[in-house]
Structure formats: structure tokens, C-alpha cells
Symmetry: C3
Subunit: 360 residues, 3 copies
């Protein structure tokens, strides 16, 4: 920013903060014009005397010196905010939630999941230890169909035992994945096979159910999407987006990444977008979409009896909510958790922020 | 309270806590009667010997000395509780959420909002720094109608840049108020004009969307109510109340004030009351109304497909919920957040407490 | 576990973590076989040299020594987890939420509640101070019918004043139980009588409304169930279960007990189970049922206009939600709060965990 621009804005700020007090500041402004170019970064900067007196006399008004400092500090803060937004979507190593194609044997869809300890980049340059399925956080997206025969093979390369619970599937008890209740834990070095016929449709999750506060917090989780046999209108969206919220050891993340490394959601004007919210964290996250509302169509995979509309949807740990967005408003729209400390700091947006881009 | 009254209650407590133990305490009570008037405030007070032995012999029973102390401590605590409630509604300087009449030019409703740093009194004698629109917390209430042409002029007298996002309005992208995504930040000393045709009805909010965790926390927020073109029955209430919940730098507040400085809601018996809950904080607040239930009619400004009833409504950050209360139960009714540490301490009620007064 | 078993698993882990790196480890395994039986618990254990080199060369692979340590640590952790689950349902002194039979005089159902300070065992060996009604946490379950004449007699044996608020009942104002608003506080040693005709059906609660953050947190709470005059289908369940969630001074509890001392819910295959969730704590608790979904039928005692299904139900402080579970899936099913740190630690499950046992 040029000194001239800062001067104009400083003068404006000074006028704003004193205009109701009929403050004669002509001489002060002259002093300010002379001093601002070189003085605004100087801590030892002498306060223009006339303005100083006026500032003292009019409680609440901003002195010229303070105005210069405010504009300068604001510029510094804004630069950080701008830098974050300009970096979006930032590149990082690794991408979670990639659809995993099954191997098919005798009509059975087989998914292999290997749990191991990895390094994961949540935002540029920020590496965290993750415990991951197939070296992805979230783990690979598993998509099956109601009635499919599915085999899930878990290989445990972790230093702890583990197990997989299919959260939301109404499986036979011995496939439920809870160590010492429905199975033995899967020890380090061991493999374990789950096999079942998919009983119910919807947006579900798979995750560890052993030492889970730690293991899920570190990344042992993924989306398990079951297409229904009979489709509703909302089962044929133009864009189908899984959005897994997390707030554990990796910070505030969407699909394993923090802003500006979160992935934007992109749709064309007029398209129907389905978002499948899933909360794998420990806190609620009320998700707020700008510019368009969301129509809630399913809860935990079950159709709601009457769809309802909102722009802020509160998602609690373990919940899944599916919404439809009619993308009728072109532009780039902020889309974030409305617990503001999960989304923005003095250094700019971070964590649970992404954008919905509606292309005209 | 008279010494006689304290004596009676001490005796009663003593009887209660020992009655199942068939404790003969006649002589102890005589000693107690003689001593209580002068001894109950003495830390060096000698324990009546007979009672002391009984207390030792009957584990769990309360000795006479303890009974005296309990009654005395209870009275002291109760006095604090009573003082708070008797002070309600307490006077403080400043009132937020006042309806702002627009200036109308060529059919455009113009609202001027000046953001500045002020001192704000949240409860008697408790001053906090606030960043406020038009020196109010919450900022002035803006009421418009679906289809209105509206101009919002923001004057920034703050030491930081800022911007206004109309939370819930489905505006054209360039009016969305998100710095570096839809506009440049409004620097200290600058003004900025938003102008749009109001696209959708309902209970919405306007607030800063720049360094928002801090700026909204400090008070840069207000209600933005859009009357619908076509009114439902609940759009014609007898009393229409906005209730903005906050939990930031100013503590737990309703419309910028903490109990006992919160404002009671007043309705006449038989009237319909509409409450527009808005959460501008960082935490959920399950609002509990005594004496009557609430019927939920809209979520984020959108009519719910089928109204539903409750007495405790959980409101998450960014959410708005409108309810109708059929004021059919006369009296003064507590109305508070049911996270009890947001509403009461050992010193009495505080924070997120108000009352609904139904006048017979 | 035998050394042989640990060896097998260590070998497997070693293979898993290195298999993509074509690591020749035959000699290392020979060394490992020789050493594992005695060395696995030795901190000074010498690392097999060949494996050590390989481990250094293949970043991310697990060395044989690490593999041994991992299996050993995993076994130790699993043993703690198993111990907790094997202990379930663990015996503790005291049982809360027991149905209290009223004394009936002239058609009035009279319930006597004595508030006193007790010691309460939340899980085996863990004693806490509780403030309790009738020496139970939660207090005794009160069951009445819409239209009943009820007298509630409170005896205060606590060292503080108190009062009872019937949360959810739409009582005449003077029976609402809020000190200094609707009544004087009930002092230590005093008794107080509430009397009213039950106005509305549903799952409600009674609790202290004086110094409530402390008093409710310590246990002064209980279920108040009102049967409706006209019953819906869900009012005739085979099993009717109250589940009071709390997170105060006693830790994370269901009906006053922490896992493994929580009580399992037991139903027969094909039965309808009604669960009445009530949150008396300060935090949300999204309750997740494995194996079957829940159909939400009432909110705060009010029938929902259209029942809806879920497997994870978010319950906020002060809320009551009734659900029906069609017990069609036999087995022992985990049932827990899905804020995982409320349910599991490195030491195993704890706190807000129980099981639904569906008997075939």
C-alpha cells in the first residue's frame, strides 16, 4: 500500500472518530501529512501536539497518532488474512476420502484396509502423526449398495490393537467390531475379516472402536456410503460430496485438511449438490453456508419425514446429516463452522473453512 | 432474620438429621437455645458437649453446632441469591437491539451503521470494552420487508478493518461481506455501502465477517428481521421478541446484558409471544422456559414443515429458531439457559437468565 | 498369552510393515525367535542388528524390536480394556432411579423426598459426595398420571437451602419451585410441600432450582414420568427405560453410575423398548446405539409431529427425548455417548457406556 493511501485513510479515520465533536484539526492534519510517510513504523514517534490535546479533551475520539497506528496495524492484519485466502486451495501432500474400488470375488465386494502410522500434512508445512487406513485421512471412501455382499479385510500395522465398527450399519452382532463384546481385538501384525450383507442404506462411517478416543482422533475413520435399492430424488444429485468434520489431534479439519488446504466444493449454476456431513470429532460443529440454504433430507442415513431448510446445521459427534443445496446463486461462497474460533483467528481464516463455488 | 427464627430452624434441622436414630437431645437443645443468639457467628464457639457426643456416635447425623453453622451459611447464601433477584430488572447504561428507523431515499431504505469501540455496561457496575454498531450491543435491530430495496452504510471507526455479512440473506455474491472473497476489507476510517433487494424472509443476523472470532465476540452483531410478503399466523404475534444469546468477551448475555440487567419479556394473559432466538456465541445454549411450552415455527427463517413443541430448545452458534408461546399461565416465569453454570453460581443467578412475565 | 502366540504375532507385524519393501529378514527372524521369550520385557534388550539396519534403511517400517514392544504394549492395554468389559455390569452400593410408590390420602398421591448429603459409589471403589433425594442418585423415579392430584413433600437435611422445580410440568406459578421468584427457599431443617394437579404428560424431571449448578451437579435430580390419559402406541412399550445423563461432580454417568457399573438394558427379541433420555448435565451427549436405530417419538414430553429415525441422538442439557427401539437384532450392543472421551480412555471403556442386550 502506498503512503498516500494510508494517509488518506488515516485522515478519514480521524474525521470519523471526531466529527461529532466539532474538532478543528486543520493544523494537526498538516502535521500528520508531513509525518506519516516515515513515522508510522517508529515506536518513538512523537505525538503531534495539537491532536494530542484534542484527543485528551474529547474522550473516545481517536488521536492522529493512534489513527496512524490503527491503519498500519489493520494493514498488517489484513495482509495475513489475504495471504490465507489467496493460498486457498493450498496444495498439501496426501488426499483422504478417495473412493476405494473393491476387488470382486464370486460376487463379493472386497475392501482391504491397512491401518498404519503415517505423517500427514493438514495444511502447508504442518505435519502431524496420523493413524490411517491405506495412508489416507479420512480413510478411503467405501461405496456399496444395499443388499451387497461385502468383505472388509483389516490389516493392523499399528503398535496397538484395533477393530473396525461400521457406525450406522445394522449388522449381525458378531460383525459389529467392538473388542471383548463382539470380537477379540485385532492385535498388531494381525489381520481380521468382516463379512456381511449390507442391511441399510445411507451415509455411514467406519472407524476404530478400540481405544477409540485416541485412534479415531488420530485418523482411523472413513465414510461408508450405502446407495439405496430404491432411489429418492435426492439420491440423484449432480454433485455428491462427503464432508467429514474432525477436531482431534489434527486440529479443526474437513476431510483431514485445514484451511487453506481444504478442498472447495464446485458445482455449476442450477445443479443439485448433496452434502453428506459426518462428525468424527468431540465437539459440535454448526455448519453455515453462505448465499444459499440447505434442505435436510436424511439423518444418520434415514430419510427425514419432511425435509426442512436451514443455513446453519448443527452436527454433533457421531451424527450424519445429508442436505441438498440448489446451487442457484453464482459465486464463491464461504462455508464454515460457525463456532468462530474454529474458523478464524487474528491471523486469518483457518481450520473449518472451505468454499462452495457455484460456476455461472 | 431474627435469632428466634434461626433457632427454630436449627432445631428443626437437628431433628431431621437425627430423627431416625432416636437421639435424646433435650439437654443439648437447652444448651443450644442459650448459646445460639451470641455464638452463631463465633469461630471459637464451644461445641455443646452432649450433642457433640451424639454426633460422633451417629455417623451421618448433624450435630447441633453444625446445624447452627449450616443455617447461618445458608442464610448468607440465600441473601446473595435474593439480592440478585430483587435487583431484577437492574438498570444499566445503554440498551442494545433498538429498532433503527431507516432514512428513505427514492424508495430505498437506508441504514447507517457506525462501528466503534465503546465501554458497555453488561450488569450494574460491570464495564467491558465493546466493539459496537451505533454504540449498542447488540447493534440496532434492522427490520425490513421481503422485496425491499435496502442500503446498508458501514462507517468503520475501529482500529481494525471490518466488513458486514448478512447471515441468512441469500444475497448476490458481491454483497456477502467476506473480505478477500467478495470484497476488500473496510479499513479504519473508511466507509462501505452494501445495497440489495431483500431476497428471503425470516430472523437473520448481521455481523462482522473479518477477524470475526474477536469482532463478533466484542459486539459487532445485530438482528436483521425480514417480514415476509405473505404472512403466516405466527407472523402476527401480540409480542415479538428478539433474544440474542452471546458468551464471548462480555460473559453470558441476552441482548448484551447479564442477569439481573437482562430485560424481562412481558405479555398479557392469552397473548401470543414470538421469540426469535439467535446465537452469536461460541457455545450451545439450551433455552428453558418455565410454566409454558414453546412451539417451534421457523429455523433460520425458514418455516418448519410441521411445528413441534418443547420446553428446552438447544440453540447452536449461528442458528436462529423462532418459537410461539401461548401465554396462558399467569405469573413471573424463570427463563434461562439450562447449562446451569451459565445461569447460577453460589452467589445467585447471573448471566443467561431472564423472566417471562404473563400478566393476568 | 503364550510366548509362542506373541512370537507369531510379532512376526506377522514385522511382515506387514515391511512387505512392500522386499526386505529380506530371515536371519533377523531367527534372532527374534531366539530372543522373544525372555527379552520382550527387558528395557536393555539389544536390538537385532540386521533388523536395525533394515529399519533404518526403510523409513516407516517397523523393526523387529519395535514389533515385539508393540505387541507387548498392546497386550497390556487390551488386558485393561478386557477387564473393564468383563466386569460389566459391576456391582456397586446404592441404586438410583427406583420407582417410588406414593402414599395415597383422600385420592392424593403423596411423595416424600428427603434431601441429604451422602456418599455414593459411581463405580466399584469410587466414592463421591452426593447430595441426594432419599439417598439415591438419581432420586427416586416418580410416576404419576395426567390429571392426578399430587403432593410432593420436601425435607431439607442439607447444609444449604434448596427447592424443587418440576422441569417440564406447566404448574401454577406458586408451585414452580424457584426461590425468591415463586417461593421462599427451603432452609436447612425445614420441610416444604408442593401440591398440584398434573397438567401435562411426558418424560419430565424434578431437580433443585437453588444454587442449582452445584446442587444438581451433586445429584439433586430425578425423573418425573407422567402417563398420558390417552395413550399412543409408543405408550405401551414392552420395556420402559429412563436414562438420565450427567457429567458433573460425579463424572460421566448414566443413572448415577459409570461404566462398568452402569446397568444394561435388557429386552427380548421382537420387543419394543422405550428409552426416555434426560440430560441433567452441562454438556451435550450424542447417544449412539449399535445394531438398531431409534425412532424419536417425543421431545420434552410432547409428541413429535412425525417420528424420525436415527442411530445417534444429540441430547442437550435440560432436554428429554423419548425413542422407540424395535429390538429385532439379537446380541449385546454397545450403547454410549459418541463424544469418545466421555466413553473410552487408554485404560478402556468408562463413563457413559452401557449395553442393550437383545435376548434371542
Amino acid at each position: 500500500m502506498s503512503d498516500k493511501s494510508m494517509l488518506d485513510r488515516t485522515t478519514a479515520l480521524l474525521e470519523k472518530t471526531t466529527d461529532r465533536r466539532h474538532f478543528l484539526r486543520n493544523s494537526a492534519l498538516t502535521a500528520l501529512v508531513a509525518g506519516v510517510g516515515t513515522a508510522c513504523n517508529s515506536a518513538a514517534d512523537a505525538r503531534p501536539p495539537v491532536v494530542a490535546q484534542a484527543g485528551a479533551a474529547t474522550s473516545g475520539a481517536m488521536g492522529a497518532h493512534d489513527a496512524v497506528k490503527a491503519v498500519s496495524a489493520a494493514d498488517a492484519m489484513d495482509a495475513m488474512h489475504e495471504k490465507g485466502i489467496k493460498a486457498f486451495p493450498a496444495k498439501t501432500a496426501g488426499k483422504g476420502n478417495q473412493v476405494l474400488a473393491p476387488r470382486i470375488e464370486k460376487g463379493i465386494k472386497i475392501f482391504e484396509l491397512t491401518a498404519s502410522k503415517i505423517q500427514w500434512e493438514t495444511e502447508p508445512g504442518h505435519m502431524v502423526e496420523a493413524w490411517a487406513y491405506n495412508e489416507q485421512v479420512p480413510g478411503p471412501q467405501i461405496r456399496v449398495r444395499e443388499g451387497d455382499r461385502v468383505r472388509l479385510v483389516l490389516h493392523n500395522n499399528l503398535p496397538e490393537s484395533t477393530a473396525i465398527h461400521c457406525h450406522g450399519l445394522e449388522l449381525p452382532n458378531d460383525q459389529d467390531g467392538v473388542p471383548f463384546i463382539t470380537q477379540q481385538p485385532v492385535k498388531p501384525g494381525e489381520s481380521y475379516t468382516y463379512e456381511f450383507t449390507v442391511p441399510n442404506a445411507g451415509s455411514h462411517m467406519y472407524h476404530s472402536h478400540h481405544n477409540s478416543a485416541k485412534q479415531v482422533g488420530l485418523g482411523l475413520l472413513g465414510a461408508l456410503i450405502v446407495e439405496p435399492k430404491v432411489k429418492a430424488a435426492y439420491d440423484r444429485p449432480d454433485v455428491d460430496q462427503v464432508l467429514i468434520l474432525n477436531d482431534g489431534a489434527h486440529g479443526y479439519t474437513f476431510n483431514g485438511k485445514s484451511f487453506p488446504a481444504t478442498e472447495p466444493i464446485v458445482a455449476k449454476l442450477g445443479q443439485k449438490l448433496r452434502i453428506r456431513f459426518m462428525n468424527e470429532g468431540m465437539m459440535i460443529h454448526p455448519m453455515h453456508l453462505h448465499g444459499m440454504h440447505m434442505t435436510v433430507v436424511t439423518k444418520d442415513g434415514w430419510p427425514v419425514p419432511a425435509p426442512w431448510r436451514c443455513d446453519t446445521l448443527n452436527i454433533a459427534p457421531g451424527e450424519r446429516w445429508d442436505v441438498i443445496v440448489n446451487c442457484n446463486n453464482p459465486g464463491t461462497w464461504a462455508f464454515h463452522c460457525h463456532i468462530l474460533p474454529h474458523a478464524e483467528s487474528e491471523h486469518g481464516m483457518f481450520g473449518m473453512v472451505t468454499a462452495l463455488v457455484v460456476q455461472a
